[in-house]
């Protein structure tokens, strides 16, 4: 794997600014469906939120399920998506 340094990581995706998959691995290998969904989710979140209520941008978007979570962040004009396994204790 290209980026093993995140605890509980079981898959990753890196998208460019146009939504194309640059690299991927683990559970999310070539998972363009997830890429499209999460990409549109950050656009949707942007259009739904009242910007007057927040005076700053967000650093991370998390989609949390019972046993796993997708975390999305933007860096260097690339969208980084990591799928993380949640520990049972959490």
């Amino acid at each position: 794997m290209d980026r093993p340094n995140i605890p509980g990581q079981i898959g990753y995706l890196t998208l460019n600014s146009e939504g194309a998959v640059l690299c991927s691995g683990g559970d999310l290998e070539n998972d363009e469906k997830t890429a499209v969904v999460l990409q549109s989710l950050i656009g949707l979140a942007h259009s739904r939120l009242d910007h007057k209520a927040f005076d700053q941008d967000f650093k991370r978007l998390s989609v949390v399920f019972d046993d796993h979570a997708y975390v999305v962040c933007l860096s260097n004009r690339k969208v980084h998506i990591v799928k993380r396994q949640l520990r049972a204790a959490e």
């Binding site: 995140i6 950050i42 700053q56 991370r60 949390v64 962040c73 980084h80």
Partner: protein, 154 residues
Amino acid sequence: MVKYSVCAYFNNQIVPVCFSDDILNRNPNDLPKKTDEQSALTRILQETATNVIDVAALDSHNLQQHDYLDRVKSYNVKVQQVLTANKASLAPKLKTCILQDVPQPDKVLGADLLSLDDSELISSSVTAALNAINDIKVDHKEDLVVPFGLGLNC
């Protein structure tokens, strides 16, 4: 010199077939015709040469490994320049993005996830809000359509 021309009478039109000058020039010496032919040939050759990419000739340039690396470097620099110049037009999707650009993605991605308590709090408040919204009812008391001015007229 008397010029004459051979014409053909065709379909009520006189069509010239050949002129006297041509015939006179052609017969005495073939030299001018030959040079014409050669210049035409060289012209064809030149046109073909400009239109054809000669792969074998390209090979003779023989780029060295470091030349390739230098080119890769300079092309990358150029691409970066163009990208930064057209940043706005190239990333329309990211313009409508809720996320801000962070320098170290691993740090943000690796940070602790939402605690269970917090997510439970969020779920319960959202459920409560949803229930509240569903509870909104219109309490119908009066007629929606009320006749105006009827009392005055009568």
